[in-house]
Symmetry: C2
DNA sequence: CAAAATGTACGAACTGGTACGTATGTCAAG
DNA sequence: CTTGACATACGTACCAGTTCGTACATTTTG
């Protein structure tokens, strides 16, 4: 209503004017980007669909058109975040390296990843508050990080064979120890900083922590 | 209205009948208990004041009477949770023990605490999602865990003096390493379990992890 | 022209918060 | 000891704003 005037000057003028141009892929990607930010900042319950719609170059209608519901959008955000890591982890060539060096590279990678992707870390925290209910319903996510375990298992085995590692350790335990340290630094940055007045994102601190976790893990395996 | 009959048989009969009996302390405590459960399960935004009121032996009116607002209630819940730990941490007598033994006791305590109080762990996670905004506004919480650092500093110093520890380490870093491991096991229990099909709350796993973190930290200090 | 993609406006339910009324306890005066 | 007055403690019903979701209309594209 009240827009009948635009009717006749259509084909090109209108495009340039209101800029509409169907581009589903880009629309979805745009929604996901904004939604990632919103959910990782406010949580699932705290995130507002209207707030997402506003910051999008499209409308709320499109969110429901593509993702069905708020939860559907949240799940899509989660899957997209996990998919992004898979890429990084996959193309690490560690089998040529000596066990100790391989482990250090793997740890550094995990460390840097968490440090560089606080959004992802926060989403995982949020998902844990929801008892991982959404992850469990998504086949896409589940069969993911399993490859890391195989990588670690290989490194540990070679390490034992070469007598550079002396302790028999469970790969999943080792992965947990690494994850815990790298993840916690980011996930608990605020409460930790608030209590101890320490900024965990300072370059010097980052540098020190990166070698610290590696030393600790390798020390543990050599004990 | 319609209760005028109870007027004359007051002193004891009425109390037994409708059970009302002014007990502000118990009412507040009751609200806090329920609210802790609600917020730690659903988060601040996800927690419902009505849901809390329902599970209380009092009404929503009382929540606002005592805590002013939803956020006020949430903050009270947070402070209460932190206050509970202070008690535990305070009466640890570690100065008589040898450095290594003292550290093992401290680590076990942290480990067991997190394991036993998933509600607390979840609240801290939630608070981190909110950038620790509420903690920052509460003087009560801030000057809390600082004592832990002094304890650790003392242990490390004695350890260096006695040449049982060789590495010069920052007490806060050590505390973070311990916290990270203990906290992560609980905070990320669900996503971790979902991906690796491992139940981190199994007794055998708990036992293994408890010694694992202690060995790792002590190994790190001896390297 | 049909199907996919998009925009606008609106509704219905939820949810934090409150107005209003009642009960309980305390304490001083009678 | 009992009466009455005042403050604290409590209950019910309700309101107003928010928020997820949708009906309807329109445009783009193959």
């Amino acid at each position: 209503m009240g827009k009948g005037a635009g009717r006749e000057r259509r084909s090109m003028a209108t495009r340039a004017e209101n800029g509409r141009k169907n581009d589903p892929q880009r629309t979805q990607e745009n929604i996901l980007e904004v939604a990632t930010e919103e959910f990782s900042t406010h949580g699932l319950a705290g995130g507002r669909v209207d707030a997402i719609a506003e910051r999008t170059r499209t409308s709320k209608r499109m969110i429901y058109y593509y993702f069905g519901s708020k939860e559907g959008l949240y799940l899509a955000v989660l899957e997209r975040s996990y998919r992004k890591i898979r890429t990084l982890e996959a193309d690490l060539q560690l089998s040529n390296l000596e066990p100790e060096e391989a482990l250090r590279v793997l740890i550094s990678t995990t460390f840097d990843h968490d440090e560089a992707h606080p959004d992802f870390v926060r989403l995982v925290s949020i998902e844990n508050i929801h008892h991982a209910a959404h992850m469990l319903r998504s086949e896409a996510i589940r069969d993911l990080n399993v490859s890391v375990i195989e990588t670690i298992a290989g490194i540990l085995e070679r390490g034992i064979d070469q007598r550079v590692f002396t302790r028999q350790a469970d790969p999943i335990d080792i992965h947990m120890m690494i994850s815990a340290f790298c993840f916690f630094r980011v996930s608990n940055r605020y409460t930790f900083g608030s209590i101890f007045r320490r900024d965990l994102s300072e370059p010097a601190t980052i540098e020190r922590h990166r070698t610290m976790i590696a030393d600790a893990v390798i020390g543990y395996l050599k004990a």
